[in-house]
Chain length 292, copies 2
């Protein structure tokens, strides 16, 4: 059993049915500090091209259901082989947290709190939405689609979860949030102070912490490699009607530095990186004279 | 003498006194298609950190004059060692074109036209501006600072140059443009048709072509890894008063595809990549729990 941190590269894009997450994962891994422990790649079939893939189909309400389940299983097998104490997961879409977080909660006998940094609740179900990345937190709480819920041997306790930077969700998700009494702390409050965050963790009674960071919790005015910040014509909006994130990177770093001082962080996921400029530049370079 | 294309990685940032160009060059090189010929790195002292370096000083009117001349010399020696037929230069700031373009014009006995894709004329002199990257085209035409002009054994002919996507320059530069009768073709015209560009090349009588692409010729609304698109507070402007580029990437690719059909492209430079999001993400990742 290894004492080291496993770094899991999981360029899953099928959960958002968006090819861009695949390249976003490659760039994210390139930008991450060098890792001195074990790094593993979860095998993920790449999209048809860097920006688009129209080949996936809905399977019992969910796009690429079987591929997603296979990918979760691959991740589980890799994790089981190493049995790490800690896991850093570089996605990919938000569903990449399912296998590592599920393993970690089981490993620490449920003594794990969850900080879910995300503009959205990720509590959806196939009856309302066909993209798996929007249901991952529900599954980790034992809610939603049975195929995915059964991947989580020991679900997380709802009273050990906090949303940070939450901006809004679909009606079904809001119902679940109310039913489970899931609390959230706003980007505005966090920018002012991390006290509420630290008090929440102390009150959970948990020793360990996992952190899910959907980059879409960031304010797209300041960080633009997000779905919300896809360049569109003047007057248009990339994702009309969907609330975007409001966190600043400085706030995010302070939050995680502060909470790491009072918790044992055993898992962290970074997900949903959509680097529009890097994609445009890569595609441009491939078409220039002398570059082929 | 090699038949192949030399790829020259030159993360020079001292010419713009801007640390960001150094990392921009690393990412540009990572995004470029795999090169099957020779790749060389010009040794460039890195900045103090990824975003800032305040250590450079003005030497006879020019920031880091001696370092820039050393770097040009390093590039020249590398090029001389390989004597390539063609050179792709990945910058770095715009001054990176000096050594490769100078070599290429000499190699082809002056039978080389210059397509300078840039929002700005790059004709400045230390008396008016202390950053070397703003004077490189002047030097290639035999104009400006003697230390730099003498690096160019055979200057380019002014009547074989075309600006593309030019948006505006300083008064001194506009004077030089008028004195040398340097023509330009606008982003708007190029978006409509590349005929003017092709006619210009045919009229030069040249067989060979070098292409300098300062990414700042691109419209910062659509491509944001540019100085002009640095994220700033609402209502502020990253570079107030300096005209920004207006080209779209699709236009740029069409231009270069079309002109490559009627010319022998022997040199291309890509310069001034400032990937704000990638820098922010890299800095953030380095500070997260489990990533150190």
């Amino acid at each position: 059993m290894s004492d080291s941190t496993l770094r899991l590269l999981m360029p899953q894009w099928q959960g958002g049915n968006n090819a861009v997450y695949h390249f976003g994962a490659q760039l994210l891994a390139w930008l991450a500090p060098e890792h001195h422990g074990i790094t593993e790649n979860v095998p993920i079939p790449p999209p048809e091209n860097i920006l688009h893939d129209d080949t996936l189909v809905v399977e019992s309400g969910l796009v690429a259901r079987n591929a997603l389940l296979e990918q979760i299983n691959s991740a589980k097998h890799i994790i089981q082989r190493h049995q790490p104490k800690r896991i850093v997961t570089l996605g990919g879409d938000c569903l990449v947290s399912l296998a590592p977080f599920s393993y970690l909660n089981q490993r620490y006998d449920g003594d794990v709190a969850v900080l879910w940094i995300d503009a959205h609740p990720d509590l959806n179900i196939p009856q309302h939405f066909s993209h798996g990345h929007a249901m991952v937190l529900g599954n980790l709480l034992g809610e939603g689609d049975p195929d995915f819920v059964k991947q989580v041997v020991l679900p997380f306790q709802a009273d050990r979860l906090l949303y940070a930077g939450f901006s809004g969700g679909e009606p079904y998700e809001i119902e679940v949030m109310k039913r489970l009494h899931l609390p959230s702390i706003s980007a505005e409050e966090l920018a002012h102070s991390t006290d509420g965050l630290l008090n929440w963790f102390k009150n959970t009674g948990a020793k360990h912490l996992v952190v899910h960071l959907d980059l879409d919790a960031l304010d797209p005015h300041w960080f633009r490699s997000l779905l919300f910040a896809r360049p569109v014509a003047e007057g248009e909006t990339a994702l009309p009607g969907i609330p975007h994130g409001k966190l600043r990177i400085e706030t995010l770093v302070s939050m995680l530095e502060d909470i790491a001082n009072i918790s044992d962080v055993v898992g962290i996921t970074i997900a949903e990186h959509t680097p529009w400029d890097a994609i445009a530049l890569k595609q441009m370079l491939a078409r220039l004279p002398l570059m082929q």
